[in-house]
Homo-oligomer: 405 residues x 2
């Protein structure tokens, strides 16, 4: 049973709904009489070692609800991955503040941090209960049907591609949009959700689940452009050659890596520029443009799925309930049990921690450059009810009267 | 008085509301009994010379209203700038189809095309009435208080910066966002609209109205980062040195130019990458990220100002009314007559054609890297009523208990 002080923190890249999960934890925890305090650590685990705690018991419900609707980690985040010495510092701070339950909202790196923490806690015999609340725009957590944060980012990507498809139809040429997702193509695949007419883009989709070849890319684009006079392309930042070499890293003079050893893929337009340069040099197509969607995908104000908001809130609420009722560590996981309903469970941390889920083959078309209708059926219920639909003029053409011959 | 056949076309870069103006022209024109046909030219003036006309009289009002709500030129667009021979072809097609009134929805390049057309028409004694309907996300048309298309693009930029400011606060570092706008900084300046708290970004704004110096840029960023531990920067793609050299063009091996002689600035991430590389090399700041907002600014589905939609529609409607009542060529212009009300007038084409309006000094702070409250007052009524507002946690900090010394 939950009692004493509980702590909540947010780790990894922010999402549009990560504050919903935080509000879910705080508001649910405050219902339990045995819980004396609800603390929030600033900037994830780094806030714990530095004792940067907020007393969230003193936050008004009204303000918490407003923060819940605001994108990006309100408590701040971190990319720190604790080693043994770091963990010792964490326990020192937790013990000093008498904290026994820690809710960490994050992705697979954050859940792995939690797994390490529980091992270290057992080793030093500190009674720490750790609950992982899932979030990631990459949708790459195992066990889960999908993860909070993904639906809103997918909605952004779908709306972006619905728009650039119209733009590309108005001023014809080739358009390349580069989308976040290091290992999993779920977010890139969402580019297809805005399609309405048979010749709508994206006409080509390059996922990290398939090997990328520059020659194949050039041939694909030429084929589509020859057919339609235009071509819209969705590319994952994580595309790589058959030997695993990331296309993005082929460019960088020196690679920037974070504490998890991840190479920087976002925050640079290099991949889009490489791909557009490749097309300019190897085709006769005059107008070739590229955009890297970057941080807007996870932070843009006002582009949020109501389904995602609700589920992110519930993930936080269920985390507290599971901690109270089940008396074990774990990761809150989302399971689709009907079309469309989500059930929450508490899975072992080890099942989720540090693991990466990629797109199933049934979601990827045989061509390797498109998704299947099954993927659309999977994604559609997640993005909410207010997706805009594009329309075209239907008026008939006027008969030509001039003889140009 | 309007009679016979009228033609509508769309030129230049698409916007979120350019179809509202097209629908305004078509629906208003269809009210006049003396008007026999309403044609739409596909891909602007190039559609005229190729006789690619749609009979918009046969479009249902229901579908027209749906298209009006869809971003990006439904008739297609063009970057063509007609020369004498091109104009001869245009007249040939117009005469063959007995078209006497031409409504061209576009920016300063399109209005200049119209000005040339009217001169050529007079020279060959062809009775052509030309009405320019304003649109541009750059907001750089003279005479106008602002132009349809700008408010929705400004709303996108404001929402994007409100979001990345939160993201940058959660995972601290430096963030550079590059925004469209070759000569005028209006769209870049809109990045400031999402500020709520005194330390919200963008903390630095670089406009084409002021000279850019790399040394000054590095010093500015160091100062802000030293003070806040983070820095969000809005940069216009049109920034240039004191001698007029575009920062973006300093990079390109060879410049790509369009028919108007404009160098390609959008559709590449080179400028953001140059600026982030400059900061990485010249400061100790570890996390430096850059995004180029690109085509999403003018095409993103669902990010549209209701004020912009209404005014774009009215601009089209008034264009038809002016053509009928005033019997002269001209450009429909928007004038602010109250706080907030817009009056439409028909100004001489020569007052708008080919001219560029930049931001007034009263809109730019003395520092040269910020905007004034007067600019916010100018912009606020344009973006509509549904701007999201960010909220922060207000809970007090917990007293530290560990002695770290």
């Amino acid at each position: 049973m939950l009692k004493g002080k509980v702590l909540v923190a947010q780790g990894g890249g922010p999402t549009a709904v990560i504050n919903q999960s935080m509000a879910g934890v705080v508001l649910e925890a405050r219902k339990y009489e045995a819980i004396s305090h609800v603390y929030g650590a600033l900037n994830g685990v780094s806030g714990i070692v530095n004792e940067n705690f907020l007393d969230l018991g003193q936050e008004t419900q009204e303000n918490l609800e407003r923060v819940a609707e605001t994108p990006c980690s309100a408590l701040g985040s971190t990319r720190d991955k604790p080693d043994a010495a770091y963990c010792t510092e964490i326990f020192k701070a937790l013990r000093a503040h008498d904290i026994q339950t820690f809710f960490y909202i994050g992705g697979n790196d954050s859940s792995d941090t939690l797994r390490i923490l529980t091992e270290k806690a057992r080793a030093v015999d500190y009674p720490l209960r750790c609950i992982h609340i899932p979030k990631t725009i990459d949708n790459d957590l195992t066990v889960n049907d999908h993860t909070p944060g993904y639906p809103s980012a997918a909605k952004f990507v779908a709306n972006a591609f619905a728009g650039v498809t119209l733009d590309n139809r108005a001023l014809q040429g080739v358009y390349v949009g580069v989308i976040m997702g290091r290992h999993a193509g779920f977010l890139t695949a969402a580019a297809a959700l805005g399609r309405k007419y048979p010749d709508d883009g994206p006409h080509l989709i390059y996922l990290p689940e398939r090997n990328f070849s520059t020659d194949g890319f050039i041939a694909d684009v030429k084929r589509v452009f020859h057919q339609l006079g235009r071509c819209v392309i969705a590319v994952s930042e994580g595309i790589h050659e058959a030997d695993g070499t990331h296309i993005a890293t082929k460019l960088a003079e020196k690679h920037e890596t974070d504490a998890h050893g991840n190479v920087q893929l976002s925050g640079t337009g290099a991949l889009a520029d490489l791909l557009t340069d490749t097309l300019k040099k190897n085709t006769e197509i005059k107008r070739v443009r590229g955009d890297t969607f970057g941080y807007l995908q996870r932070s843009f104000m006002g582009c949020v799925s109501d389904v995602d908001q609700r589920e992110a809130r519930q993930a936080g609420t269920h985390g507290v309930r599971f901690a109270n009722e089940l008396g074990r560590d774990g990761s809150v996981t989302l399971h689709r049990v009907a079309d469309y309903e989500i059930q929450f469970r508490l899975s072992p941390l080890a099942d989720v921690a540090g693991k990466t889920q990629v797109m199933d083959d049934r979601f990827i078309a045989d061509s390797g450059t498109d998704i299947t209708p099954e993927f659309i059926n999977y994604l559609k219920p997640l993005v909410g009810s207010d997706m805009r639909v594009p329309y075209r003029l239907q008026a008939p053409a006027v008969t030509k009267v001039l003889d140009k011959g």
